[in-house]
């Protein structure tokens, strides 16, 4: 409890439990310093996080390049292109020579048909996207790359 003592210019407060008051004050001060210390600790943790995120970013960019390289190394000629380039090779005869079951031969014929209309449906979608974008940001580039991959996956 606090009471006003004296009149005029000077005022005095009576503190009932000075020890408790002082303890509370010191404990508040201690906690405040603790919070400040924690602030530095959190800042440090965030710096470490940023550093690790940077490393992850770098690794993922390198991974992207490696996957692109891998993609370039794997042959991607279509059956029709191979037939055009090497007309002397008869694929049907080759497959028969290899004693492959007839089902294997039938599959490509069946699959070639549905593959043709698919690009016609999907192709127009990614094309209009890059045209309106004049300033291509990093995110846009990534989105475009993702679209390309999705397109390739759809046409597999």
């Amino acid at each position: 409890m606090a009471n006003k003592q004296g009149e005029g210019q000077e005022f005095f407060m009576r503190i009932e439990n000075p020890k408790t008051f002082r303890r509370n004050l010191l404990e508040s001060s201690k906690l405040t310093l603790g919070v400040l210390k924690q602030t530095y600790s959190v800042k440090q943790l965030r710096e470490m996080k940023e550093e690790i995120m940077g490393m992850i970013d770098k690794e993922i960019k390198e991974l992207k390049l490696l996957v692109q390289r891998l993609d370039e190394m794997v042959p991607k000629h279509s059956e029709q292109e191979i037939r055009r380039r090497f007309p002397e090779i008869n694929f049907r005869k080759q497959l028969l020579k290899a004693n492959l079951p007839p089902k294997v031969m039938e599959k490509p014929e069946l699959k070639v048909v549905p593959v043709k209309p698919a690009p016609a449906e999907v192709k127009p979608k990614p094309k209009p996207k890059p045209k309106p974008l004049k300033k291509v940001s990093e995110v846009d580039k990534l989105t475009q790359a993702l679209d390309d991959v999705m397109y390739k996956l759809k046409n597999l």
């Binding site: 508040s28 996080k49 690794e59």
Partner: protein, 74 residues
């Protein structure tokens, strides 16, 4: 596009190169996974710190309230 049922043939030198690239990719993936787990650990540490922060702030508020009560006699 090459249909699933048809095999593809890769030159031996390219094949070796492909294996090397795949090896490097695997190493990188392991590294990224490790980095991600480190990041996760740091994240949970940060969350703990912030929880403590809030707890301490509540305690400070309580102590200050007590001081205020002592001073004002409320």
């Amino acid at each position: 596009m090459i249909s699933e049922s048809n095999p593809i043939f890769v030159k031996i030198d390219k094949y070796k190169e492909i294996l090397e690239v795949v090896g490097v990719i695997n190493k990188k993936i392991v590294n990224v996974k490790q980095l991600l787990s480190e990041l996760e650990a740091l994240k949970s540490k940060e969350e703990d710190e912030i929880m403590n922060w809030e707890k301490n702030m509540d305690e400070i508020t309580h102590k200050i309230e007590l001081l205020k009560e002592e001073l004002t006699g409320d």
